[in-house]
Amino acid sequence: MSDTPEKIIEIKHLVKHFGKFKAVEDVNFDVFRGDIFGFLGPNGAGKSTTIRAMLSLIRPTSGELKLFGKDLLKNRSYILQRIGCIVEKPDFYKYLSAEKNIEIFARLSGVDVSKSKVHKIIEFVGLKGRERDKVNGFSHGMKQRLGIAQTLVHDPELIILDEPTTGLDPQGIIDIRNLILQLKNEHNKTVLLSSHILSEIELIATRLVIINKGKTIVQGSVSDLLNAQELVVSFTIDNIEKAKQIVQSSSLNITLESETSTNLLLHISQEKIPLLNKLFCDNGINVFSIEAKRKLEDYFLKLISA
């Protein structure tokens, strides 16, 4: 038995052209069972096109798309039965109630769900009491929650969420993040998550891929990719002048980015953080906090601009 986790998604050399426009040129990545997989790229990078191809909403020009070890084009129904998704924004039949919408999509997913199960799922996403309300009166955040309910109703193995936090308020973003973590941790789902909010991906993703101009730039585990990078770290301390002297005289090769009366912002690799912290403590400087600043965002921007 191999210890390598099962590949849930395998995309090789995916290409999609719309006439002369090349939306996707060469996208490659693998998603393993149990991943929360971050799918990143700037606007127009080809994320949505790739997701649509994975869900058979568009036909690829060329390339290989395998889900659950099977070719998508030849095993469309088998594969789609195992997927729950939100593509871009969760749109529903506005003239129907929340529960009727869920029932309609459950029926198409090949499962006969009871009213009580529908109500349970609606409750799980925090919409208890709104089951019989028409979707027409729902806010964007409520539709996002209903969208997640819809993805769960047939108990899929893989959940694909395209920009699930777009347009949500901070509490809504936190709620959706917690829901995603709950899906992985308590329900053992594999989640592919496309988002513009890099801090969100950084907080919850285990692996990620970054694409730009229709091509894969990098993929791997979030910790491996980010730990190999020099970080920008904020030290909150009580003696700035003395700390600056220590940084400049030490042999740790640390660069000072900026300073305030209580903070030093430093370019430093991850393994040097405890060494510098010890150095500060040994010299009588009180360290109140150490905080890495926007690691993924810096990494992302560096890759995209390159």
């Binding site: 039965q81 871009e88 039949y93 999509f105 198409l108």
Partner: protein, 281 residues
């Protein structure tokens, strides 16, 4: 199995859409007005028409009866009912695109052909309901208000008197042929619906095609005479053949054949397009 589940869904959607009731409402209002007018002024109206005939013929019995009223209503409305049906059938696919629900719909494990045919079947069901409503209002209510009797119709300046006993099957065949015409229009709008991502486009285009083909079919231009027999609009009033005596069997089969060929051809185009459609909305 999935086909029937999908079809059930489509019926739920049509039943819940407010626009589905526009056609039924409009038919009810128009037929109601016609019935009221006939009830109040019908005898004077019929007398004005039959006055000339009565110079040389003796007309006996209840001429203004439910059968005649139903025939008049059919003549008046059958051109307009397709326009009301298109409000629903033209929106079946493109409406999903406009709402964005097509993205979810097509990520479910049901083949695109099944989804389209489910929509088509539901659209045909809606068309049937509209026609049944028209039959109920014109024939059933007409007979309740005006009684029954022989039907006198004027076909190309020839007076045809149809006995009351034979009107049952004639109306049944006429309504069935009218249903086929309505299905033809529903199929046309569904096909246009597969090419669009907005609700209004297929509805307007279908109406434009009906108007254009009706004009082309009526123009007395030699260059158009070769295509006129094949224009579907020229066969949409084929139901009238069932009120001729003797029945023009050849014309009836010709019209039904041309309508069926149009329906099958358009449906094939719709399936082909829908299966290959990239969902970008």
């Amino acid at each position: 199995m999935m086909f029937w589940k999908s079809t059930y869904n489509e019926f739920i959607k049509i039943a819940a859409k407010p626009r589905s009731y526009i056609g039924i409402g409009v038919i009810s209002v128009i037929v109601g007005i016609i019935l009221y007018a006939m009830y109040k002024e019908g005898h004077g109206f019929i007398g004005a028409i039959t006055w000339r005939m009565e110079q040389s013929l003796t007309l006996e019995g209840n001429i203004l009866n439910g059968n005649l009223v139903a025939y008049i209503i059919l003549q008046t409305l059958i051109i307009h009912v397709p326009l009301l049906i298109v409000l629903v059938t033209g929106d079946l696919v493109s409406g999903e695109g406009a709402m964005g629900t097509i993205r979810l719909l097509l990520t479910k494990p049901v083949s695109r052909t099944n989804i389209l045919l489910s929509k088509y079947l539901a659209g045909c069901g809606y068309t049937f309901v509209m026609l049944v409503w028209l039959v109920f209002l014109s024939l059933v209510i007409g007979k309740l208000l005006f009684g029954t009797g022989d039907l006198i119709v004027l076909n190309d300046d020839v007076i045809v008197v149809l006995q009351q006993q034979e009107l049952g099957w004639r109306f049944a065949c006429a309504f069935s042929t009218a249903f086929l015409s309505l299905i033809m229009v529903a199929t046309l709008s569904l096909t246009f619906s597969c090419f669009a991502d907005n609700s209004i486009g297929p509805i307007v285009t279908t109406m434009a095609v009906i108007i254009l083909f009706t004009i082309l079919g009526a123009l007395n231009v030699p260059a158009l005479q070769k295509i006129q027999p094949y224009l579907f609009t020229n066969h949409m009033s084929a139901w009238r053949y069932f009120f001729e005596d003797p029945l023009p069997i050849g014309k009836i089969f010709n019209s039904i054949g041309i309508l069926l060929i149009h329906i099958v051809g358009l449906l094939a185009i719709a399936v082909y397009k829908f299966k290959r459609k990239d969902i970008l909305s």
